[in-house]
Point group: C2
Chain length 336, copies 2
């Protein structure tokens, strides 16, 4: 029953095998391997040798049972294939693997229900959880946080650790840039209504644009995808604005494509600014002007904070991550 399929697998070596080889007890082997110094140095050496010889690998499940530590972290995001998250995933993976832990990825497909279910499924087998752009409400997130350490990314909930890039610097520079080009009326092409980050960006724009003498309207909500961006063009044109800030680069690129298909010149007839600086946003034509969010750092930082909550030492001091304006070619002075 232990092996299925057609091929017979060889069972992995256990500490019992090592113990038998050396005439020791399993507890001694366990200590030799995990508590350096607790055991006579020569014995410890012999244990290590036999372990290597037998190609011994500790069984993480067996260890997890008594210790409660699985050495595994969970990362849940809305959409694994969204290019926005590639750097984040890589950053998180780097730190996790660097600490000898394993990262489990899962996606919620933009659904709060699915997200909750996934989280509950993962929870028993992980030490901590990173929730990116969670679609859950505050209450649900709090409940999860009661079970295991939890760190949010692109979302804030009172009194819970979160990594939220500071959007203000990037937005300020972007608006200064648009203002200096002579734009007076803007639109924000917003993302999903459940997106906390979309609201944050909108609220910030709502503060900052009028302060520069520009009008701004919200168009949306829309799906945070190429398609969502394309859908937006009709309302953008109807609104009469000369520049659009899209919730993210995917929507910006979608909008750009729709413009091309509709014969709207970018940037001469319409300026477009995206968010995040995803892979590919610099090889559209024109390349997208965007507000870069360093999500690779956010991913690293989130994992560091989980480790910190787990009580690990040598976790570096929290690092601020903030958005940065990147001027490319999708913005220009409006035609009069």
């Amino acid at each position: 029953m232990k092996q299925r399929g057609n091929t017979d697998r060889k069972p992995a070596a256990t500490i019992y095998d090592i113990a038998r080889h050396l005439g020791l007890s399993p507890s001694t082997v366990s200590r030799a391997l995990n508590k350096p110094g607790r055991i006579n140095a020569k014995t410890e050496q012999r244990v290590r040798e036999v372990a290597a010889e037998l190609n011994y690998r500790i069984n993480p499940m067996a260890r997890a049972l008594p210790t409660g530590r699985t050495n595994t972290l969970g990362l849940i995001l809305t959409d694994i294939t969204n290019p926005v998250y590639f750097p984040l995933v890589r950053g998180a993976e780097r730190i996790t693997a660097g600490a000898g832990h394993t990262l489990v990825l899962a996606e919620s497909q933009e659904s709060g229900t699915l997200e909750a279910e996934t989280a509950r499924r993962l929870l028993p087998s992980i030490d901590g959880l990173v929730l990116v752009a969670s679609r859950l409400d505050d209450e649900q997130i709090r409940e999860l946080a009661e079970v295991k350490p939890l760190v949010l990314v692109n979302r804030a909930v009172e009194s819970l650790p979160a990594v939220v890039p500071d959007v203000l610097p990037g937005i300020r520079d972007a608006l200064d840039h648009l203002a200096s080009l002579g734009h007076a009326s803007l639109a924000f092409l917003s993302g999903p209504s459940a997106s906390w980050m979309s609201r944050l960006r909108w609220e910030t724009l709502l503060d900052e644009a009028p302060a520069r003498g520009m009008t701004i309207v919200e168009i949306g909500p829309g799906a945070p995808t190429l398609d969502g961006g394309e859908q937006g063009l009709r309302r953008v044109r109807a609104s009469g604005v000369t520049a659009v800030v899209a919730y993210n680069d995917l929507m910006a690129i979608g909008l750009l494509r729709a413009c091309r298909a509709a014969g709207v010149e970018v940037p001469s007839s319409l300026s477009i600014v995206g968010f995040d600086d995803i892979f590919g946003s610099d090889f559209t034509s024109p390349p997208i002007t965007t507000i870069r969010t360093p999500l690779d750092l956010a991913g690293e930082e989130a994992v560091h904070q989980v480790f910190a909550a787990l009580g690990d030492d040598d976790v570096p001091a929290p690092r601020r991550v903030s958005a940065q304006f990147v001027e490319r070619a999708s913005t220009a002075a409006p035609a009069r």
Copy 2:
């Protein structure tokens, strides 16, 4: 010792808690939950109710210990952030999650050593492994396959299950296309020397191009990245060819960028064909003509095959995946 960090966590409910609530033994609870019909229907019902009430979640580790099944699959690829793999990861995730299993992702960063180490680290906690574009040698792969069921993607090893898209149809159509445009001398911008898929593509081109009366040279090896593509331009120009087939779209895009920077017109002075049809390859300018590899299907298929090797029933019959030529705008008749 069980809880760390500042917040106290509430311990998860176990089958012992349920048993105590009902005055039953844990074994009965276990059976009620997993062997429908083995237990009196009313008892089973009561167990389910209390389980729901206590918000019971099975502890996967505890289950894995006696059964040897972890309900987890591993997926190792060379580079998590390579857009080529996004669809593959999503496909694999879909099937895995659909079967109620968990997928663990890891990357080898193009290093065979790291790949071997990662595989060994993962192995004890997974039921099966998918290796994408493995940099390991055949012998190492065989050893891993002896421990747990293993399925390869974009790589073949005698007698091991593998999902390898059939490149021939795509390459044939691409070469017919180039030949009909009047190209007579081609280059293949090859990927890493450890890449089995790069060699397969090259070998196929080497068969098919001369058969159409075209010459072909290999330029490389190079890194399978934007950068690798950019590096290639110097040798491409020196070779005097009129068209280049790049190992993948990333390199094709890199080459395209280098062309633009160097003032080489694409497609009029140089035609470029990529591979894989990654996200972004249709919004370069010009959009990249490419040979699409349906890696989403490959991901699904690989996971299906792991399940099959695990002895699961209702695994669909293997599906052939094959590459397909996609004509866009980076190819045209050569200037004479």
